[in-house]
């Protein structure tokens, strides 16, 4: 083994890269299965059952179907941007996942002391990608829908960042590894319940979750892709795998969002009983959040566009500002006495 020593960092790097891409790919494919089975169960029906046992090969069948379609670039559309947009949706999700600490030792990324900011920096590329996709399609409805998505995402990035700033004040570091290490193994040690520094921490978590739903265009905030002017919205002109990649990108973003929520609020890979390595606890928490995302989608109707913006500007931003002020006051209070 000793002759492998100098290569260990390289091996680790390659494993990590391959692992991340495989993780994103598998998740994007099988989250479709989770969503369809979950939707089925919420609706008292079985979901896919024919293709493979319990419908487990259904994503393969869907992928094959999408790959067998011709990738048409509409005439007059900007071909470069048209083809670039789907890639720009997936790539930032991959980059974000590189910063998230899945476990304490082997799978941990390098200690990036700007980890949190990096996630948000890459996350905002997603917005641009959808706008590019809508614009490059040269389709009236796609542009209108893409413009709506941009205004929705911008409106919800603000409370998200305010919430993250509140959290930064509480944790004092942007390094995601340190944030996880600050939290203890038991539930009451999670950041979610760190109420002596931020009394409204659970509210902060809820706001973060809602903003994550809106950022990834999930129901009940999905009017951009669902109802938009009678056709499919920003992705109208995308056929076959182009559409498939957008879809995968949406699920990859959900994975990123839920992983971030787990790391920031739910204790990351910390486990109360050390039964399995930390990475499994991370996945349990992350998939519980993803189940909640699916649950919310199949329970509520869609909000109207102005209702969505009202929620952000009139409710979430004031509340998150108030939380921010309250946290700063509470944190500085001991200094007064």
């Amino acid at each position: 083994m000793s002759h492998l020593e100098p290569f260990l960092p390289a091996i680790r790097l390659i494993l990590f890269l391959v692992g991340t891409v495989a993780f994103v790919g598998l998740n994007a494919a099988y989250l479709v299965w989770v969503e369809r089975k979950g939707a089925g169960r919420f609706q008292r029906r079985p979901g896919p059952t024919e293709v493979g046992p319990q419908g487990l090969l259904q994503p393969l069948a869907d992928g094959l179907k999408l790959m067998s379609k011709q990738l048409i670039v509409p005439p007059g559309a900007d071909a470069t941007l048209f083809r670039l947009a789907p890639a720009m949706v997936i790539a930032p999700a991959l980059m974000c996942l590189a910063t998230i600490p899945y476990s304490e030792s082997f799978f941990a990324p390098r200690d990036l002391n700007i980890g949190l900011i990096m996630v948000f920096a890459f996350g905002s590329i997603n917005v641009m990608a959808i706008m590019l996709g809508g614009w490059a399609s040269r389709n009236k409805y796609a542009i209108i829908s893409a413009a709506r998505v941009v205004s929705q995402n911008v409106a919800y990035e603000i409370p998200m960042l305010l919430v993250v700033i509140t959290l930064l004040m509480v944790t004092g570091t942007m390094n995601l590894n340190d944030i996880v290490r600050q939290q203890g193994p038991y539930i009451w040690d999670w950041n979610l319940f760190r109420v002596w520094q931020n009394p409204l921490m659970p509210v902060t978590f809820v706001i973060f979750f809602i903003c994550m739903l809106a950022e990834t265009n999930r129901a009940p905030f999905d009017m951009a892709e669902a109802e938009s002017e009678l056709v499919a919205g920003a992705f109208t002109e995308y056929a076959g795998m182009g559409f498939g990649v957008f879809f995968m990108g949406e699920y990859a973003n959900i994975v990123v969002g839920c992983s971030l929520a787990t790391v920031l609020f739910l204790g990351g890979w910390q486990s109360p009983i050390g039964l399995f390595p930390g990475i499994w606890w991370f996945f349990i928490k992350m998939y519980a959040l993803i189940f909640t995302v699916v649950w919310i989608r199949w329970t509520f109707p869609r909000t109207q566009f102005y209702g969505l913006l009202n929620l952000s500007w009139k409710i979430l931003i004031p509340v998150s500002l108030a939380t921010l002020v309250l946290t700063s006051v509470v944190m500085k209070l001991p200094l007064l006495f």
Partner: protein, 375 residues
């Protein structure tokens, strides 16, 4: 959200474009084309173009004998088929002065009310599905399966029952059916509460529906709108009370009406009507007498020359059937005054200045069945 009269777009308010809410659209529940003239996001003019499913039911009435027309009546509004057959059968019975046995009248009331509940469940589920909630329609269809199973055991069909005959009903019902009705009423009441908690009280739904598409009682009168649309604008008009037919005057039920006139009011009227129908079924099952289910009917039906009308309260409003006979064995004219045609005509005036998504919510609240518009 209604745009002010001067569109905020300003100079570009002269640039309107035409959008086809085409015959194929998931939200119009049938083949209805609406030509929308839009100013940006707001509708300036909505022109419904019906006729894509005109199947000439009224013309078919002239070519078929009185008894041969019975299957046609179910297919005009297939969700509320029993009440349509009831209107036609009632018109012929009124013309011939036929006696319908009391047991048959009770059976007609029970089956009509079950049909009304199943129609409202479909309308409700489809409405919430249009708004983006894909789950409640499946819960509604689960309840509807129970109704359809009950009616299938009695009539043999699930949607287009050809069950009523001149002078009574085709088959008798057995004790299992009456027990099934009682069990259904017991099952449905908690489900209504479940729907209220899950959907009606939901803040997202309320924000989508409250204040959308306000329709005043005066506007309803001008267009002849009826049914839940009229009752959602505050007018407590129900054919079962205003022009009592069959034995509805023997039952104790309320007419739900709400004064606001917006989509939420119409939604609430339909949910309350399900409860009232459950009450009627309970009373009818308790009071149903024994006896024959078919009265004396002449072998060959030749109605005396003249007009006869009969109105019933279908799930969507007031249905009037007017038959004109010239003494032969086929009608001279069968005129069906269907509720959805007049309900749809509200759309043009009410949708001015609305956002497109709000207009779709408004159309869903009208609960249109397109074959009912075109016949």
């Amino acid at each position: 959200m209604i745009a002010p009269k001067d569109s905020p777009a300003g100079a570009s308010s002269n640039e309107t474009f035409t959008l086809n809410l085409g015959p194929q659209h998931p939200a119009t529940h049938g083949v209805l084309r609406v030509k929308l003239t839009m100013d940006g996001e707001y509708i300036t003019r909505a022109e419904p173009v019906p006729g894509y499913i005109h199947r000439m039911h009224e013309k078919m009435g002239e070519n078929r004998t009185w008894a041969q027309y019975l299957p046609n009546t179910s297919r005009v509004d297939y969700l509320s088929a029993m009440t349509y057959t009831h209107a036609y059968v009632g018109a012929v019975e009124r013309a011939l002065k036929l006696e319908v046995p009391l047991r048959a009248e009770f059976i007609r009331v029970i089956t009509s009310e079950l049909n009304r509940i199943s129609s409202h469940l479909v309308g409700w589920g489809a409405f919430v599905m249009d708004l983006g909630g894909f789950t409640p329609i499946l819960y509604a269809f689960d309840d509807r399966e129970k109704i359809l199973d009950l009616l299938e055991a009695v009539t043999g069909s699930r949607l287009t029952y050809c069950y009523y005959r001149f002078g009574g009903v085709a088959n008798d019902v057995d004790a299992a059916f009456l027990e099934g009705c009682k069990a259904f009423v017991t099952h449905m009441r908690p489900r209504l509460k479940f729907y209220r908690d899950l959907v009606t009280d939901n803040v997202i739904l309320r924000n989508r529906l409250e204040g959308i598409g306000p329709v005043s009682a005066d506007m309803c009168r001008r267009y002849g709108a009826c049914g839940p649309v009229l009752r959602g604008s505050g007018v407590a008009y129900d054919v079962r009370r205003a022009e009592p037919y069959s034995i509805y005057d023997q039952f104790d039920f309320e007419i739900p009406h709400y004064p606001q006139g917006d989509s939420m009011a119409r939604y609430n009227v339909r949910m309350d009507e399900i409860e009232q129908s459950l009450r009627i079924i309970e009373q009818a099952v308790a009071k149903i007498p024994e006896g024959p289910v078919m009265g004396k009917v002449p072998r060959v039906l030749k109605l005396p020359a003249g007009d006869t009308c009969y109105a019933t309260e279908a799930a969507r409003g007031r249905l009037l059937v007017r038959i004109t006979s010239d003494g032969k064995d086929t009608p001279y004219r069968v005129r069906l005054r269907t509720p959805c045609f007049c309900n749809l005509s509200l759309f043009e005036e009410a949708s001015q200045g609305m956002l497109l998504a709000d207009a779709l919510a408004f159309m869903g609240s009208l609960d249109l069945v397109i074959p009912d518009i075109d016949r």
